[in-house]
């Protein structure tokens, strides 16, 4: 007769894993990686003046403030202007602009909880680089990600969340500063009860700016309908966005004129400096019936799932389901053992 002990142990182990794994997952929040710009304690990011053809060195401190050992991926990224202005980073792995100037000494690190390490990098400005204030970033991304339960409903969305920590690297290539903007087409957009006007702005200068301005909306017969003042966050040079502004009063279908004024202000000490230049433009735009329909469709809001600190309600259901499967397996094992005893008896 074959000894059944190893098999029993294996089944017991499998059951243990089945029951213990979700519980462990529910309490584990894993490694958390932080970044610090070495030598830049007040600014919090790197700020270098580098002439074309020269190289500058720097270092980041990577730390794991989480409760598990983990591996962090380190890579440079391009920066651009976000949809609502401010610096954002292109973290999809393709480097086309100033991120290519940054070379890290290490691409990944494994750190225990509470541990930290220094990673050196260089910024090499090509000889052909044009004068200006150019921005890149150094990204820390947890390489391993926890997997959650998969559930099936009629229409739901399973969302995996990546979290990245980034430190900026600003490289100033000396030369004549230029401030310029082009104002492009104006259109409307919006959804779920909100109508927006989108104005295309493109920076043609070589400096970081924090512009402000105003958009005045006129009816086709010239009556002023709305005045929309705005203050932007950082606008990176040589980038373009369709800047959204909420309309305070909905525009019905028709033809309109937008008078746009942009006051270009340089970045000084984290805030905006004095106005260097103003750009004005007039643009005609049309609101169609379809635009209005898109912005003002009826909708029924549903309440967010109750937060229990461990994730979604779906996760709770998955835990119940796992427990039920575990109990079923346990019952099956007990039944099998009982049958064997009966046979041997």
């Amino acid at each position: 007769m074959i000894d059944a002990t190893p098999r029993r142990l294996a089944i017991f182990g499998a059951l243990l894993v089945l029951v213990a794994a979700p519980a462990a997952h529910a309490t584990n929040n894993g490694p958390v990686f932080g970044l610090r710009a070495l030598g830049n304690p007040t600014r919090g990011y790197f700020f270098y003046n580098v002439v074309p053809g020269a190289t500058h060195g720097g270092a980041i401190i990577v730390s794991n403030t989480g409760n598990r050992t983990g591996t962090v991926k380190l890579y440079p990224a391009d920066a651009t202007t976000g949809r609502t202005t401010g610096t954002v980073y292109l973290t999809n792995g393709r480097i086309r602009r100033f991120g290519a100037w940054v070379k890290l000494a290490r691409r990944s690190l494994t750190l225990a909880p509470g541990a930290h390490a220094q990673v050196n990098f260089t910024v090499r400005v090509p000889a052909s680089a044009k004068p200006g204030q150019w921005v890149a970033g150094v990204v820390a991304e947890a390489a391993a990600r926890a997997q959650g339960p998969r559930v099936k409903h009629k229409a739901n969305v399973r969302i995996r969340i990546r979290n990245l920590t980034i430190v900026a690297v600003q490289v100033n290539v000396p030369g004549t500063p230029t401030f310029g903007f082009k104002i492009g087409p104006v259109r409307t957009a919006g959804q779920r009860g909100y109508q927006q006007v989108l104005v295309h702005f493109a920076s043609t200068g070589n400096q970081l700016t924090k512009p402000a301005g105003v958009v005045r909306i006129f009816a086709s017969k010239g009556r002023l309908l709305e005045t929309l003042p705005f203050t932007m966050d950082t606008f990176l040079p040589q980038t373009a966005i369709d800047y959204p502004m909420f309309l305070t009063k909905a525009l019905p279908p028709g033809h309109y004129r937008a008078a746009v004024r942009l006051d270009i202000r340089g970045v000084a000490g984290g805030g905006a400096g004095p106005t260097r230049k103003s750009v004005v433009a007039d643009a005609m735009f049309t609101v169609t019936r379809n635009d209005v329909k898109q912005a003002f469709t009826s909708s029924k809001q549903t309440a967010p799932p109750a937060s229990d600190g461990s994730g979604s309600s779906a996760r709770t259901w998955a835990l119940y389901a796992t427990g039920a499967v575990g109990a079923l397996l346990l019952a099956l094992v007990v039944f099998q053992l009982g049958r064997r005893r009966e046979r041997s008896g």
């Binding site: 929040n29 894993g30 958390v32 990686f33 932080g34 970044l35 610090r36 304690p41 007040t42 919090g44 990011y45 730390s63 403030t65 920066a79 651009t80 976000g82 949809r83 609502t84 401010g86 292109l90 973290t91 999809n92 930290h116 204030q133 990600r145 926890a146 959650g148 409903h153 009629k154 229409a155 739901n156 969305v157 399973r158 969302i159 995996r160 969340i161 990546r162 979290n163 990245l164 920590t165 980034i166 430190v167 600003q170 959804q191 779920r192 909100y194 203050t231 966050d233 970045v267 984290g270 469709t297 009826s298 909708s299 029924k300 809001q301 549903t302 967010p304 799932p305 309600s313 996760r315």
Partner: protein, 168 residues
């Protein structure tokens, strides 16, 4: 004896400051790592599926910080749902750590439509200069529009949440 005590004290202070410096690294963590939005029974009218995430921001310096996000449209085979939206200003937990302060957001108007590409990343929350120090938790609710024409299925997407010290 006095000299030895002084050097011991010096070493202690140096050690403590090094540890403090190491701990001052800026980081964000987001929980949960994977979430399933509230299920929607398709009934021929536009609806909204929602989910919540808690973002913990630690080690910020005086310059303030930004949280940006982007997520491709949720897909199920060739079917897609609408763009993720942060419908209202996220709520805050109590801050922790010595000298901590709650963040004061600036220049953001909610609702914020989350960009669908890395280049279209959108600021969903931030801390103005001299605010948001120490460790802060930001509770964000995301809405996903499920139009009347949406088809049944389990849709998937990846939400990228990016934290950075207020940079240039």
């Amino acid at each position: 004896m006095k000299r030895r005590a002084c050097s011991l004290l010096g070493a202690l202070v140096l050690g403590c400051s090094f540890v403090a410096a190491a701990r001052a690294a800026f980081s964000i963590s987001v929980l949960p790592a994977t979430v399933t939005s509230s299920a929607v029974t398709l009934n021929g009218v536009d609806q909204t599926s929602t989910f919540a995430a808690t973002i913990t921001v630690s080690g910020a310096v005086n310059t303030g910080w930004n949280i940006t996000a982007w997520a491709p449209l949720p897909t199920s085979g060739s079917n897609t749902l609408g763009t993720l939206v942060v419908p209202s200003q996220p709520t805050l937990g109590a801050c922790s750590g010595g000298g901590c302060s709650l963040p004061t957001p600036t220049g953001i108007t909610w609702p914020v439509t989350v960009g669908t590409t890395a280049g279209g990343a959108t600021k969903i929350y931030n801390a103005d200069v001299s605010t948001g120090k120490g460790t802060n938790t930001v509770n964000v609710t995301f809405n996903i529009p499920v139009l009347a024409s949406a088809l049944p299925g389990t849709y998937t997407t990846t939400l990228t949440v990016i934290g950075s010290n207020s940079g240039p």
